[in-house]
Symmetry: C2
């Protein structure tokens, strides 16, 4: 009888330049007692930074700095769970992720795993989580991943790179302060924004699309074009890219990503390539699947003088290619969205290898 997903939305959002200032008053009513801390997972680029000084710490609240140099991992989540369970007598009042997709995904996964038993790797998949997470808040400091609004948290596990997709995954609260994205290095700004752009192209060209996802995806795509092709004033550009990421994440409600994401997961799994750049590395060669989207991607890349690294897959063994291909092909919903139920007729291991070899 369930034909359409009953989609969980983030139930609270505050948006505005400087709204990070309101975090203390937002958290206060969610504090269970003085023994139940808020745990702030913060990208370690902010260590000693002004943003960190503005975090409203009281009682036994704790900041844990985490590097986003690598993709978030299941064993990293499991270690955080142990650290917190051993460090406090009570479950935290909440988990607050401050950073990019890596930090947001870690915060979501940690909040889930504080109430669900076992290893986070057991929950990679669709709707395997049985218990609600503890209260969790997402505060993006770079725009594009859509992690702030999605119902997944994508983790690199021992066997796969796959999301914990569940109704309990989305944040209870999101704080969208475009000022926090001030100072993001140009390359990262580009790659992360392209994560949004690429997943909109994939979603809008997918077979799963309906009017709900289409309307969000179209708006996100339009905002990406404004940001990367027009000449907006800096603050307006930050505002709009943050909204692009938000709408882009929402557009996944009734759609899916596609070819670029599937293949990029293979790159991440084998080589640890970061998600944003991985998507770009693959997407540049997908004109067969997304002709218009790829053409526009090259235009944006040139406008911002972005040089993608080359030779990433040079010198890989047959076994390496097979590993990437196996990971990519395992993401069946992505392929089905991209190419329909008969996707296996078009997509063969040889086909994927020929694309990986270009990268």
């Amino acid at each position: 009888m369930t034909k359409y997903r009953n989609f969980p939305m983030v139930p609270r959002v505050v948006f505005g330049q400087g709204c990070f200032e309101q975090l203390g008053e937002i958290l206060m009513p969610k504090r269970k007692n003085s023994e139940a801390p808020f745990i702030f997972l913060v990208d370690d680029v902010f260590e000693g930074h002004e943003i960190t000084k503005r975090i409203p710490l009281i009682f036994n609240d704790q900041i844990i700095f985490i590097s986003a140099d690598e993709e978030p991992k299941t064993h990293q989540v499991d270690a955080l769970v142990s650290q917190i369970k051993n460090g406090y007598t009570e479950l935290p009042s909440g988990i607050i992720g401050i950073g990019g997709g890596t930090l947001l995904d870690l915060a979501k996964a940690l909040a889930l795993m504080l109430t669900n038993p076992g290893s986070s790797s057991e929950y990679q998949g669709w709707d395997l989580v049985k218990k609600p997470a503890i209260y969790h808040v997402g505060i993006p400091t770079i725009s594009g991943t859509g992690a702030e609004v999605s119902r997944t948290t994508v983790l690199l596990g021992p066997e796969k790179k796959l999301g914990i997709n569940s109704d309990f995954t989305p944040f209870d609260q999101v704080v969208l302060d475009p000022d926090l994205t001030h100072g993001v290095p140009k390359e990262q700004w580009f790659y992360t924004g392209m994560d949004c752009y690429i997943h909109c192209v994939e979603s809008l060209n997918g077979t799963f699309l309906n009017a709900f996802s289409q309307s969000y995806g179209e708006k996100a795509l339009e905002l990406c074009k404004e940001v990367y092709l027009d000449s907006l004033e800096a603050a307006e550009s930050r505002d709009k890219l943050m909204m692009a990421s938000w709408h882009g994440g929402m557009s996944i409600a009734y759609s899916q990503v596609g070819v670029a994401h599937a293949m990029s997961y293979g790159l991440s799994y084998l080589l640890g390539v970061r998600h944003g750049i991985g998507n770009c590395l693959v997407f540049q060669y997908l004109e067969e699947f997304y002709p218009e989207g790829v053409a526009l991607f090259h235009e944006m890349k040139e406008k911002h003088q972005i040089e993608l690294p080359k030779g990433i897959c040079a010198g890989l063994s047959d076994q390496d290619f097979d590993t990437m291909i196996t990971v990519a092909l395992s993401l069946e919903p992505l392929w089905e969205n991209a190419l329909g139920k008969e996707w296996r007729k078009t997509i063969t291991p040889q086909k994927l290898r020929s694309i990986y070899e270009k990268i």
Copy 2:
């Protein structure tokens, strides 16, 4: 310290042609026990209609048919509260509104007033509600009001037409099934869709706007243009108008409606003019404030051969005009949004009277 509203979003939404079918399974886990019914408030045009037969009634659930011929009223809400409190030993498991803006607003208000003491008229205003509502679900059968997603429920009270604006007002669940809007009469389809169009024009031209509201408002406006100016296939048109209404409602998060809504409230209060048509009656004469929006409105009106009624205000007494003007001027946030803090310099009772006299 609170500069930006921490906006409450509808936490669950299902969208898709035919998704009304899933209502039973959506409600089941929310059923408190067999003595706590679901109360379905249903527009009485659906009495004996196929939609009503598909409502998943069990135990002592009840359907209450309500006419949407008149604007929803505070005394009507208060009477419903008494009826339900007297009729059952327990509070309901939830309230489900099925209909247009009137039914959705009644459902929201009823859910709030089952847990908050006194008359609903005591809560007309901003953030006067202290206790969470009982579980409530909105199922629109006509698109445009945005009532399915807004944090208000607009009621005609003994002293004013004003919303109960609160964080507890939004629905806990919305079911967006575009098939339910099949068969809406053309005039109603036009007037209700124009409610969305007009509030987007007001919001996008308002001083309160930020990038969050702008992105939603622009998308809603674009969808309205597609629906009313292009030649879409019927099902696609229903899908898109439902999404226009949704995004239009969201665009109010960090914005406000403006001149047309303020003046239309006056018409509703004095003459009981329905909200959708009231907005159109006023908006047609607002080229001074919204030149592009009004021009496009006339284009849409002509394309669909809509004749607005004339002479609505003919024969009104000075006192009648004063009443309408007082109601309109009392809506200060709307005027401030439309014209800035200094709005009183532009807007005088004489000015409003001259516009009302044309209607």
